[in-house]
Amino acid sequence: MPYRPLTPANEREMLQVIGANSIEDLFASIPPRLREHIAMPLGMDGPTDKQKRGWTEHELRGFFSQLGAKNAHFPEYCHFLGGGIYDNIIPAVVQQLVLRGEFLTCYTPYQPEISQGTLQAIFEFQTMITRLTGMEVANASMYDGATATAEAALMAERIAGKTAGPILLADSLHPDYQNVTQTFLKYHSKPPVSVPFTQQGTLDLEALKQLVIKQNPSALIVGWPNYFGIVESLDEIRLVLPKTCLLIVSITDPSALSLFETPAKLGADIVVGEAHQLGTPMLFGGPHCGFFASKKEFLRQMPGRLAGETTDIRGNRCYALTLSTREQHIRREKATSNICTNQGLIALRTTIYLSLLGKNGFLELGKTNSSLFHYLETELAKMGIKKRFAQSLHYREGVFEVPRLALRFQNAVDRKIVPGIRLAEKVPRFGNRFADSLLIAVHPKHTRRDLDRLVEVLSSDH
């Protein structure tokens, strides 16, 4: 066993203190028939004896490097994948700081006297999220954007009360987020009802009005920008909804909050989303950082951990987890959620990243995404590749109609370019309507040359 701390002499000494003859004796409480014939082959390659004793660090490096080499990544590959997960340039400081053992190997800060570092960092994270979203309160983070969406649906139901109707889910919301929300609500609530999108890819306000009249829904959940990269007019959505009762939950790309007005000002009641692009690599989808913010009046219905400022016995400012009577370890079956963690280290990455960018750097991030996308769509248009939903407001991502998509997609891959997400594959229920649709996103690693190469390969059959 690696990391072995006990010597044979230690083991003898300890068994003597315990009064046992062998380590096996300590397992005597397990019925013998449950201990017979236990084998657990681990599926490792190579000679059996090596599998039994485990691999060395050096062998692990070789093995995992080979696995990594089978995945397309920068700089060999250039990709235009988005759909809620966005590549970004991460300052070296982020990784170095989160590897500090005092952050990496500490526990949930239930003992505030010896967890002030984590607690203050959470407090700073909560402050940043409220300032980005314009909301009054934010929690310490959730698993990811999709589960934050599901938890927002559950919270909206609690606020609306038992007599309210179903949750409305915009059909233009990220398909994974819709799926996860449906799974969470499946046995707990009324099934959510889908709100269609228009020819322009935006929420269908007429359909929404009808649903509001017929169903008395508790909340509307809408992507902002939505899965097609369109910045929905939250203020107009607010106007067609009744003043009271119905909550707007905005599923928000936090980098868009550099350029666009806060969802709070536009009428949202709960703002959640996925913040991984602010300091955390794509990691094949996780661990990421769901954020969760709302108006203060809903605080007691919020899921997840919250850090609050207080004082110590000497009167000094300090921090502690607070309002935990909402949580499962106190309330058990009456808790606001079963969640028992947050994404501590990833939220810390976000906090460090945003500190490094600062007010201006964050603006530049948005400006870079917006400018790269505008250049790309202009150049694609010149080659006759049209942006679908062209009349709608975009930020850093959009759907493009690429003739002979399958062929051109493969040509791009042959040139080590992954040109985007094929909507017909990602969302099969969209069917033939989206047969040649490609969701293309830009990110700050892109240069003009990268964009030009993409335009070239997508506009020809060769």
Binding site: M40, E113, G117, A146, T147, T322, R331, S355, L356
Partner: protein
């Protein structure tokens, strides 16, 4: 009684004060900048933000110092023994961090075409196989992001299983020793949680389950038990309980939070368990990171496999592919779970091999039993029943003699340089202190912990009254947690 001269491990070090990062801000300062644009600048035409978000404006060194100072206020495994019961705070090997940061495993988008993500899919496939093998189960999904998320997934599988058989069962039985997440997950899955009383010796007896079955019959969807339970006791009736539960067509869920005690010794699959969740951040050493990220894969017997969350990674003629099972409960998290955590866990498993993993559990149990034997000299042990990887002590002796409670003992331990045990849990033991040393602590460190706790017990026995105000040594004194709740200040902008 500690006879040797006791010396506390805690020392006053250099603890520098530090305001929030916002209070270090100075207008127009910036540390990290993107390259200047090589395309024309373009800003959106509508909905432009009137006021930029007030983020701190600080230099790179200010950022490094700020967070380094903050870090120095945390206790961590890297600083000392962390006997936090049920949390398995073992050493987090650094090779795992190095491997998880490889560009080919970190900088990859989950929507990559399948041929371009074969390595990532292979990691998931291999880990799912290893987790099945360790537990003696048939299929596994790594999608759940944490233990509680895995519990919810497992319960949804049970729900789907019963519905497919045409039944709607209402009740999940949960022993009173369970984690709070268990009943909370039940509610989310649309079940009603019914508590079962464990006996005074810490077990859940088959007889208790029989009575519950007599009462609720086929309204019972499942029994959810933690094994070893939260007292560190192996539920020796489990195979019999499994038969009873299966006898009424219900399912046995096992919370696998305590797998660190039994790897290579016994297997949930052998006990009759139908579904369980792992906590990779416990058993397989992935860092707790101050509260996440975790990972809570579920492993099932074959009859529940059709309901597992999709997409599932499958082996194909050309490598690895994805499958969306028709009867699946659906997605429980976007994409494939906390992949970066999965990489670390696989690395840990392969580093140990089969023999090494068995040795992990044997050593964890030896360490825990040593601590229990030594500490029983100073504290009441909650149960006479043999325990495995953790032990529960109580404050009953100290309360009776001098009115000193578990909370005060825990806070005193901080002053001796240790993280306190898990306190007041399990709920069934008044004044519980749940101690789990894990296998990576050396005998010297265990002795230091015994000395520290023994020293505290001695002080109490001598009638020392200095316990109300503890701890004294950390960067902040006793924190007013009630005050934090009364007037919540949850962001800088809430400050009066």
């Amino acid at each position: 009684m500690i006879t040797e001269k006791y010396q506390t491990l805690a020392r006053q070090g250099i603890a520098l004060t530090e305001p929030t990062i916002f209070e270090r801000s100075s207008s127009e300062r910036q540390s990290f900048a993107l390259a200047p644009l090589d395309v024309p600048e373009y800003l959106p035409s509508q909905y432009r933000r009137a006021q930029p978000a007030e983020l701190p404006e600080v230099s790179e060194l200010q950022v490094v110092r700020h967070f380094t100072r903050l870090s120095s206020w945390n206790y961590a495994i890297d600083l000392g023994t962390f006997p936090l019961g049920s949390c398995t705070m073992k050493y987090n090997p650094r090779i795992n961090e190095e491997i998880a940061a490889l560009a080919g495993l970190a900088e990859i988008h989950p929507d990559l075409p399948i041929p371009l993500s074969q390595g990532a899919l292979e990691v998931i496939f291999r880990l799912e196989n290893a987790l099945c093998s360790i537990a003696g189960m048939d299929a596994c999904s790594t999608q759940p992001a944490a233990g509680a998320h895995g519990e919810l997934t497992g319960l949804l599988l049970i729900r789907a299983f019963h519905e497919n058989l045409g039944g709607r069962r209402r009740i999940v039985l949960i022993p009173d020793t369970a984690h709070g997440t268990n009943p909370a997950s039940c509610i989310l899955a649309g079940f009603e949680a019914v508590t079962l009383k464990s006996s005074s010796d810490g077990y859940l007896h088959a007889e208790t389950v029989k009575q519950a079955i007599n009462l609720h019959q086929r309204d019972i969807a499942a029994l959810m038990m933690t094994n070893p339970n939260t007292l560190g006791i192996f539920e020796s009736d489990i195979a019999e309980i499994a038969e009873l539960i299966h006898g009424i067509g219900a399912q046995l869920y096992m919370d696998g939070a305590n797998m660190n005690a039994i790897m290579g010794v016994t297997q949930p699959g052998k006990m009759g368990v139908d579904v369980m969740q792992y906590n990779l951040h416990k058993t397989f050493s992935t860092p707790h990171g101050g509260g996440g990220p975790g990972s809570g894969p579920v492993a099932v017997k074959s009859h529940l496999a059709p309901y597992l969350p999709g997409p599932r990674v499958v082996k194909t003629d050309t490598g690895f592919g994805l499958d969306y099972p028709a009867q699946s409960i659906g997605q429980i998290k976007s994409y494939f779970g906390n992949f970066g955590v999965l990489v670390r866990a696989l690395c840990y498993i392969y580093r140990h091999g089969e023999t090494g993993l068995k040795e992990v559990s044997r050593t964890a149990v030896l360490n825990a039993n040593y601590l229990k034997s030594r500490l029983s000299e100073y504290f009441e042990v909650a149960s006479k029943t043999p325990s495995l990887h953790e032990a529960v002590l109580t404050d009953q002796r100290q309360i009776k003699s001098h009115g000193v409670k578990t909370l005060q003992i825990a806070k005193s331990l901080i002053d001796e340089g240790f993280h306190p045990p898990t306190i007041y849990f399990p709920l069934v033991v008044p004044g519980a202190m749940l101690i789990e040393p894990t296998e990576t602590e050396s005998l010297e460190e265990l002795k230091e912990l015994v000395n520290a706790l023994g020293h505290i017990a001695d002080l109490i026995a001598k009638g020392d009254t200095q316990f109300e105000q503890k701890p004294h040594k950390p960067v902040v004194g006793k924190v007013d947690e009630v005050g934090a709740t009364r007037h919540p200040i949850l962001s800088l902008d809430d400050r009066p």
